[in-house]
């Protein structure tokens, strides 16, 4: 037992250890990645943990472990749930034998990019219970309950967190996990449960999944996972508050009080298990109160069910939430939404300048588009693409360059302005094909990172080869899943793989797919890279360029430097060409010349190749990765 300052994600990891988890799998994605990262750091010997090639595979690994009677956990961000969902829906209908917990992290307020989607919808589609911890502390205790619920009902169970709870830290009393007896795997042959062979089986499974959710609902009620607190006298305001919004309720009520406003009696229903809908508790609240407020981030899922129950009971009071226009479906919540909701429900008059004041000063903030790090190999690839287009006497707005997820999307920003699209993992390659079939005559380039290519790019490339779509695919292979915090991918160097694991080399895999033209380039060599891309753009068929250099951040952490770039002051006339073209954060303007910060310069030498006054000496460079 010890007090640790841990994040919500780490709490999920510790809670899983408390529950005797045996297999954990996932794919990195902010804000969910730290569950697995922390388990790798803190792993009991008999626990199996992996970063899988994508979320669907990760889910299948965990689901099968649960079918063999073990306790398994699978982690992902909301976008990953979209990927995993095909198998997940199928397993939902089959149920599980051991315990299967799926942890998904949503990002209301969008701190990491991608759709601001509400994963609760997925739990509703497949009739799976969903638990939503309100705090780091609750993440820890609810995780253990999630495993127990899954095992006792035979249903996979979702835990959903949002960025604010997943990535915030609190002091927690962490107990050493209990010792669990060795659990032997079971091979269960049950065609009616584990296949979808025939309509009779499928219809039975549909009935089963509904029944399992109802049973889970009973256990959730017995254990008081959702807590109803009715005011001593009937009437007054009833507040339903879901998951991560709960901690703001007390703060909001206090603020209302501080403004000298009177709420009268307040009853509350804290909803921690958002699926199944806690109909019984909601009905008690409706019967007790004269006005209702529903506080849930993103989509009005609970609110719609609340309307149904209110209708059935003939409730005639106010219902305040999103559907009446008071609160927004967009963005994350703080005490602000609680105060606004209470004021609307009770027709209280808030001070006019309380929230949402216009701060003209904010508009003075200098724009700070994110760019690639100093030494990032992607910089070289973007510069080479731009240069190749120019050398072929085309304009940048004539050449479609589709983009993908991860650091490679930074090519959309200045100074590169190279990449046009960002859809989902692997989609750059499929989109490139659709643009071709639409009749586009100019060359089409798809760009993707190595981990993203392994994740979902491969099937798309196979499609392009089969249908012989003339496109140039540039795989930017930096050897890591970088943007989510440097996780190991299938292509990461052997020495960073888990013991006994094997590295897969894209330089061997890709040519084996029967593509028409393959070339490997070093993105730090601008002329050579440009020539290779230019050539590929003029050839027919499917061309793949593998642009390979290790992520500079990771390389520098290992003490590596590619070279050493030195300013020759006498030659520099401060034309700023190096800054304009590369946008490298290591370069700034000094008094007499440009200045290169030696602390962050990796010595990639791109600035030196861009300079036309020989004002940056490149020095000798190391071997290519």
């Amino acid at each position: 037992m010890s007090i640790k300052f841990i994040s919500g994600n780490e709490a999920i990891a510790y809670g899983s250890l408390q529950a005797g988890v045996k297999v954990v799998s996932g794919y990195p994605g902010t804000p969910s990645s730290e569950v697995i990262t922390s388990l790798f750091k803190n792993k009991p010997e008999d626990l199996y943990v992996e970063w899988s090639s994508n979320e669907k595979v990760a889910f299948e690994v965990a689901a099968a472990a649960s079918w063999a009677g073990q306790r398994a956990l699978c982690t992902m961000k909301m976008s990953g749930l979209n990927v995993a969902y095909d198998s997940l829906a199928s397993v939902a209908y089959s149920g599980c034998s051991g315990a299967l917990v799926v942890y998904v992290a949503d990002d209301p307020g969008v701190s990491a990019g991608m759709c601001e989607q509400d994963s609760r919808g997925f739990a509703l589609i497949s009739d799976l219970p969903m638990l939503e911890p309100a705090s780091v502390e609750e993440a820890y205790s609810l995780t253990r309950f999630a495993f127990e619920l899954s095992e006792s009902t035979g249903t996979p169970v979702f835990i959903r967190m949002v960025t604010a709870t997943a990535l915030s830290y609190a002091g927690m009393d962490i107990k050493d996990p209990p010792v669990f007896p060795e659990c032997e795997p079971k091979l269960i042959k049950d065609i009616a449960k584990y296949t979808k062979a025939g309509s009779a089986i499928c219809l039975d499974q549909h009935r089963d999944v509904i029944e399992r959710l109802a049973k889970a609902g009973e256990i959730i009620r017995e254990k008081n996972i959702n807590s109803l607190s009715l005011s001593p006298e009937a009437g007054g305001l009833g507040i339903i508050v879901a998951g991560a919004v709960f901690p703001y309720l007390e703060e909001g009520l206090r603020l209302v009080d501080e403004y000298g406003l009177k709420t009268g009696p307040v009853s509350t229903l804290k909803v921690t298990a958002t699926v199944p809908f806690p109909a019984e508790e909601v009905r008690s609240l409706i019967k007790h109160c004269s006005a209702l407020l529903i506080l849930e981030e993103l989509e009005p899922h609970l609110e719609k069910d609340l309307y149904i129950e209110a209708h059935k009971l003939g409730f005639s009071g106010k219902i305040i939430g999103k559907l009446d226009g008071t609160l927004s479906r967009i963005g994350d919540y703080s005490a602000e939404q609680v105060v606004k909701g209470i004021a609307a429900a009770l027709t209280l008059k808030l001070p006019a300048d309380l929230f949402g004041s216009e701060y003209k000063g904010e508009k003075l903030t200098a724009s700070r588009p994110i760019t690639t790090c100093a030494g990032c190999p992607h910089r070289g690839t973007f510069l080479a693409i731009n240069k190749a287009i120019k050398e072929l006497k085309m304009k940048k707005d004539e050449v479609m360059v589709t983009g993908d997820i991860g650091c490679t999307i930074l090519g959309m920003n200045p100074p590169f302005n190279t990449v046009w699209t960002e859809i989902s993992m692997g989609a750059s390659i499929g989109f490139a094909q659709g643009y071709y079939h639409s009749g586009v005559k100019t060359p089409i380039i798809a760009t993707i990172g190595d981990s993203t290519f392994f994740h979902a790019g491969l099937p798309s490339l196979i499609n392009a080869v089969q249908h012989q779509v003339p496109l140039t695919l540039i795989i930017m292979d930096n050897g890591w899943t970088s943007m989510t915090g440097m996780q190991v991918s299938p292509g990461t160097d052997e020495k960073f793989q888990q013991p006994g694991n094997q590295r897969l080399d894209l330089a061997k895999i890709v040519p084996a797919l029967g593509i028409n033209h393959f070339k490997m380039i070093n993105p730090y060599e601008l002329e050579e890279s440009t020539a290779a891309i230019r050539e590929a753009m003029t050839l027919s068929g499917v061309k793949v360029i593998l642009s390979r250099q290790e992520c500079a951040i990771q390389a520098m952490r290992q003490g590596k430097r590619y070279g050493k770039s030195t300013v020759i002051e006498g030659n520099c006339n401060k034309c700023k060409l190096c800054i304009t073209v590369t946008g490298c954060p290591a370069i700034s303007l000094g008094e007499e010349s440009i200045v290169i910060d030696p602390a962050i310069c990796y010595g990639c030498g791109l600035c030196s190749q861009v300079c036309n006054r020989e004002a940056i000496e490149r020095g000798p460079v190391k071997d290519v990765l």
């Binding site: 007090i3 300052f5 701190s111 990491a112 990019g113 309100a134 705090s135 780091v136 502390e137 609750e138 604010a164 709870t165 990535l167 915030s168 830290y169 609190a170 002091g171 991560a244 919004v245 709960f246 901690p247 703001y248 703060e251 603020l255 994350d332 919540y333 703080s334 005490a335 602000e336 105060v339 309380l354 929230f355 949402g356 004041s357 701060y359 003209k360 000063g361 904010e362 003075l364 903030t365 200098a366 724009s367 700070r368 588009p369 994110i370 760019t371 790090c373 100093a374 200045p414 100074p415 943007m483 951040i553 700023k576 800054i579 304009t580 946008g583 954060p585 700034s588 303007l589 962050i600």
Partner: protein, 196 residues
């Protein structure tokens, strides 16, 4: 008693470390703390913010508008993003260092002046504590770390010093970095004795 701190700056300034140090000092004397850092995507030079809420169990991670007792801003332009979070009677520590985005460096985009920023902070009604980067001393020939220096100044001039005893911060600094204890304590004390 509770206390909410909103921190803004850019990646590489050590702004998140300020939050961690204060949180650690709070936890050491059983004061509940929730620390919510938002790093964004850039390794260095991108916008970074963090919210530290002290004194309440199970508090929500996000501070409401006009809710922060203290703002610590370490980059001049980014400090403006914290304006709406300051309580009307809160303290705004501005460390007016400038990290120019590329477009600003090239003279293609505007950047606010110190006077403009101070005028905007003044409009919030909060107390301005302006820590000037020029005042940052050296230790053994190297400029001292900005974040610990600013933390020292915040302890001296803002309400933070009444909530967390500077000695508790000193102990935390000693435990956090076994190497360079002398340097960090020197830096913190230099911040404590800085003139505004």
């Amino acid at each position: 008693m509770y206390y909410d701190i909103y921190l803004v700056g850019v990646g590489g300034q050590g702004i998140l470390t300020i939050g961690e140090i204060v949180a650690e000092a709070a936890l050491k004397r059983d004061l509940p703390a929730n620390f919510y850092p938002t790093k964004g995507m850039a390794q260095r030079g991108g916008f970074v913010k963090a919210q530290l809420r002290l004194g309440r169990d199970n508090v929500g991670p996000s501070i409401a508008e006009k809710g922060a007792d203290l703002v610590i801003a370490m980059e001049l332009s980014e400090s403006l993003k914290a304006l709406r979070y300051l309580k009307p009677d809160g303290d705004f520590v501005l460390y007016s260092s400038v990290w120019s985005p590329t477009a600003v460096m090239l003279g293609k985009a505007p950047y606010p002046t110190v006077e403009e920023v101070l005028a905007e902070i003044e409009k919030t009604g909060g107390k301005i504590i302006h820590v000037k980067p020029e005042g940052r001393p050296e230790f053994e020939g190297q400029p001292v770390p900005e974040n610990v220096y600013v933390l020292g100044a915040a302890c001296r001039y803002s309400s933070l010093g009444r909530f967390i005893n500077p000695d508790e911060i000193r102990v935390t600094l000693e435990n956090r970095w076994k190497k360079g204890v002398e340097r960090n304590l020197y830096t913190f004390d230099a911040g404590m004795s800085s003139t505004l």
